[in-house]
Amino acid sequence: MAEISQDGGGKKGGKKRSKKASTKIDMTPMVDLGFLLITFFMLTTTLAKPVVMQLNMPDKTEKEEKSEVKMSETLTVIPDAEKVYYYQGLPTDAATQLLKTDYSNKGIRTILFDMKKRIGDNFTIVIKAAKGAKYKNMVDLLDECAITGNKRYAILEIDPATEGLIKKSGL
């Protein structure tokens, strides 16, 4: 396909020469491969763009108008390095029960799903990261909120009462 006929059709000499092997090679597959690789590199370089997760925090400078949430519609979730604690109610209340789960599909996600189903749109998640939590744990938890379709969540700092509750439960 790619070769160009070189003999101009002249038959001047009349002498028959030994046929020379053509030095031209068919470059089509090579070009094909070249463009395939170009396409590959072009696509992979543009697809590596990072994605973002938007996080909105409340305005600190304004006099906060506190939005009321019912205790029964709130779940406090405490992410730690390998596990997640959660409880309902006040940490100072003796009747408050602290439970432990993990980050797997069957862990915190099912709990959030169940609560959401039971309570409805008013379900609020309070996130108080423990001292040992990694940034990844926080993002994972925010991700779980997005997966379970919970738009109402608040990020708070951990308080001594909650820490005491974890210590007391021994989980």
Partner: protein
């Protein structure tokens, strides 16, 4: 007169030139894909199901948190970047030489205490990295330089959006500190940079 025969055109064409172009482009893409600007630290962001791309329209101010909790700052806005240096140098009483300016422009990130600024800007970014001088910007209540850097960048370009690129294994405490510092400047919306991950059913 002899008849002029219409010359037959050959249907096959020479592909050498096309091949050349193809491989030239291939080489170009391979090399550019490799030679990404050197990062001061390697940060592996956590993954999330978010599919939103990073909004780059008004410029981005990126606060990076390394695995050991060191804080770095970078921006893609050239005006904000030079304004940051100018104001910080002013504050520290450092006269910026053309050489220092060049080194500053060559580095992607700011990540050193302001006290070490003269020393860091005196050498090339790769030397700085080799000597381990990218220690991070101090961000505690006693000496909050991150606050200054961010406010200088915000003065130059108030529309700057703040992105936080934290390493998956960095401590949450540092993230909390960064968010707290930025909230003091009434920055309440953050773009957390994550790597994409499949959405569960």
């Amino acid at each position: 007169m002899p008849k002029v025969k219409a010359k037959r055109q050959s249907v096959s064409l020479d592909m050498t030139a096309m091949c050349d172009v193809a491989f030239l482009l291939l080489t170009f893409f391979m090399l550019t894909a490799k030679f990404k600007p050197e990062e001061a630290v390697t940060i592996t962001p956590p993954s999330s199901i978010s599919e939103k791309p990073l909004p780059t329209k008004d410029g981005i101010l990126t606060v990076s948190v390394g695995p050991d909790g060191a804080i770095f700052l970078g921006t893609d806005d050239a005006t904000a970047k030079s304004a940051m240096l100018e104001r910080m140098a002013n504050r520290m009483g450092i006269a910026i030489t053309p050489q220092m300016q060049k080194n500053y422009n060559a580095s992607e990130l700011v990540g050193y205490p302001a006290g070490a600024m003269r020393q860091v800007l005196g050498m090339t970014p790769s030397d700085v990295k080799a000597k381990g001088l990218m220690k991070g910007i101090p961000c505690d209540s006693a000496n909050n330089e991150l606050f200054l850097w961010v406010s200088y960048a915000k003065i130059a370009n108030p529309a700057l959006k703040v992105a936080i690129k934290g390493d998956a294994n960095s401590n949450y405490k540092v993230f909390n500190q960064v968010v707290g510092t930025l909230q003091e400047q009434n920055i309440n919306t953050f773009q957390l940079i994550t790597s994409p991950e499949g959405k569960p059913q």
